[in-house]
């Protein structure tokens, strides 16, 4: 079966969701309440067509004056006036009634206008449903309109106003006639709002289901971000192009020995610990090790702005600025307030694809949890997506996660139910000895590698960073077999009064 002739919308991110574009000749119904972005989407569809794809277009307006549309489009950098002067665009002001009548005329002057410039696209702004109280048959009227547009071989985008925020209530009879339906909405999220776009149906091709978020940005227009949960089309050849047994040095003196020479390439490592336990220091040293080896590294920081990260790095003897200047490190900061997770993920994806890092650090995972709601499905889906992205691009990734509890394996992941997704877990902790808290590190999980799970003392020194001291912290009492303890399952073992022989 031949591939359909797809009309690229040219809108950033939208063609990806439409798996390439809209089948030529489709009638696309764009629905949404006031202010959801229908006009911007339709105007950009025609603008991009004329500008980028040599497809002249017509915009039909019922209420908005052409000069206002031209003025508003200029905010996005779209010079509609120039396109009009070049004969690639016509803005036509008319009435809904006339427009409907004209599409039923074989020799309509209005449609002749479109034909005169060889229009391939048309956007009709401001269609409304015929009120049922007047006996109007919306479906039939829309069918006549669609037939007229088909006759002219135009790929049409029609903005249909909806007064219902609830999509179920907003379902219009026109939707059964249209070939493609794009539903726009603005949803309140706490005290912010989130724009979303959903392709409800599209005849003649596949598309990405679900509600994707989008933004309208001055100087650019619409940018659609595929919802982070949407399955990624993994590039299998990428996965086959590396040796999964090769290792990546951690950059922490003494740690590589505990993890059999380093993390596996493309593995996912979670560094868990309370605040101040040394997670960010470890992350910086992981990045610095990459720099030392000439490998590109990405550092995503959510908790600390770049200046603070640079200062922290300097304090442990790492010249991060120089590595950034040499193009070996990409330091990307996004404040966690009002996360738009689809957009955030799209930005990370773009950086990974363009910058091609070999190492990545996300500092910290707990901030995503705070912003998205740790118990929410969206957090787990996001983490799943980012792990898949890093693995696809063979990026060895370290995720910091702050755990407010000091002790206990059961609390290691707290409410973040993502431990099954990670390959390695390193638990950072404080150990109180005398009057001092000392750093302790336990390799709690190493997928496909043996690990002793013994706790090791660490040391962080100004100007040098962290190192794992060469021997494990000696247990206060000799270790005996399980039979020598009570309360093992409760994870609060007590030694029996009579103990067996010490384990060698």
């Amino acid at each position: 079966m031949p591939d359909p002739d797809l009309v690229k919308t040219g809108l950033k991110g939208l063609d990806e969701i439409l798996f390439g574009g809209i089948p030529r000749g489709n009638i696309v119904l764009v629905t949404g309440t006031a202010g959801t972005g229908k006009t911007t989407l339709g105007v950009e569809f025609v603008y991009r067509g004329a500008r980028q794809f040599d497809e002249p277009g017509v915009i039909v307006l019922f209420e908005v004056a052409s000069d206002k549309l031209i003025r508003d489009a200029a905010l996005f950098g779209w010079d509609l006036g120039e396109l009009e002067r070049d004969g690639r665009l016509k803005l036509i002001f008319t009435t809904r009634q006339l427009f409907h009548q004209e599409l039923q005329q074989a020799d309509s002057p209005l449609l002749a206008e479109a034909a005169e410039i060889g229009a391939r696209r048309i956007f009709v702004d401001g269609l409304v449903r015929l009120p049922e109280s007047t006996g109007g048959d919306s479906r039939d009227a829309f069918h006549l309109l669609a037939e007229g547009l088909h006759r002219e071989n135009l790929t049409a985008m029609l903005a249909l106003e909806s007064t219902f925020a609830d999509p179920a209530a907003a379902r219009a009879p026109e939707e059964f006639v249209a070939d493609t339906i794009v539903r726009l909405s603005v949803e309140p999220v706490q005290r912010a709002v989130l724009r979303s776009l959903e392709v409800v149906k599209s005849r003649g091709h596949e598309y990405a289901l679900g509600r994707h978020s989008f933004r309208i940005t001055n100087g650019q227009g619409l940018e659609v971000y595929r919802r982070v949960q949407a399955p990624r089309s993994l590039q299998r050849e990428r996965g086959a192009a590396f040796d999964p047994t090769s290792r990546v040095a951690t950059g922490i003196p003494g740690l590589d020995g505990l993890v059999n020479g380093g993390y596996f390439v493309a593995s996912t490592t979670l560094v868990v610990g309370i605040s101040g336990a040394g997670k960010s220091v470890m992350a910086l040293q992981f990045i610095a090790e990459g720099v030392r080896r000439g490998e590109k590294s990405l550092m995503v920081t959510l908790d600390e702005p770049p200046a603070q990260v640079l200062r922290n790095a300097h304090s442990i003897g790492i010249d991060l600025q120089s590595a950034i200047d040499r193009g070996l490190v990409h330091l990307w900061y996004e404040p966690p307030q009002e996360f738009e997770i689809d957009r955030h993920f799209a930005q990370i994806e773009a950086i990974v694809e363009d910058f091609k890092p070999r190492r990545a650090v996300i500092d910290s995972l707990s901030t995503y949890g705070s912003s998205l709601g740790a118990a929410e499905r969206s957090f787990r889906d996001f983490f799943h997506a980012i792990v898949a992205l890093m693995k696809e691009h063979q990026v060895t990734a370290v995720y910091n996660h702050e755990n407010p509890e000091m002790l206990g394996m059961s609390s290691m992941m707290g409410e973040f139910k993502v431990s099954s997704l990670v390959d390695n877990i390193i638990l950072m902790n404080w150990v109180e000895l005398g009057d001092t808290f000392r750093h302790a590190l336990t390799v709690a999980k190493m997928r496909a590698m043996p690990t002793s799970r013994t706790t090791h003392e660490c040391e962080i020194t100004n100007g040098q960073g962290m190192k794992v001291l060469p021997r494990p912290i000696r247990a206060a009492l000799p270790v005996v077999p399980f039979a020598g303890y009570l309360g093992l399952i409760s994870r609060a073992p007590e030694r029996r009064s009579t103990v067996g022989p010490e384990v060698p």
Partner: protein, 142 residues
């Protein structure tokens, strides 16, 4: 712009003689390509139909406006002629008249001009009951 300068502009344009001429021109300045029936056009600008018809003829004759050739069709396509020889003067005038005070000043200047010879002789007064009048435009003597 002073009344004298407005008068000079009107002299150079030559064809405008009443507020309906001006308001139609302003309408097409905002909607340079409009496909409408004349009744609807009259509603948009707020004048009666004969007056609008006469002003349309004035603008078309002066080369400021083009109308689709199919006169039998109930709706007509009107296209503002951007490249007319008078275009520069018209643009200057419309930039003044697109603001409320400027429009009133131009209408005042039109009233003070000697009447131009035009066929039909319909009075240039807005229709009191015309609905709807866009943007609550004020007209002299209204």
């Amino acid at each position: 712009m002073t009344p004298k300068q407005i008068g000079d502009l009107l002299d150079r344009i030559g064809c405008l003689s009443c507020s309906c001429d001006l308001d139609l021109l302003l309408f097409f300045y905002r909607h340079p390509r409009a496909f409408l029936i004349s009744e609807r056009l009259a509603q948009y600008v707020g004048y009666d139909l004969p007056q609008v018809a006469q002003s349309l003829d004035t603008l078309i004759t002066a080369g400021l406006l083009q109308r689709s050739p199919n006169a039998t069709h109930p709706a007509q396509l009107y296209v503002l002629a951007r490249g007319s020889p008078l275009g520069g003067w018209v643009s200057s005038l419309l930039r003044v008249a697109e603001k409320r005070e400027g429009r009133l000043a131009v209408i005042q200047a039109l009233k003070q001009r000697p009447p131009l010879r035009r066929s039909g002789g319909v009075e240039s007064e807005p229709v009191a009951g015309a609905q709807p009048v866009p943007h609550t435009r004020e007209v002299p003597n209204a």
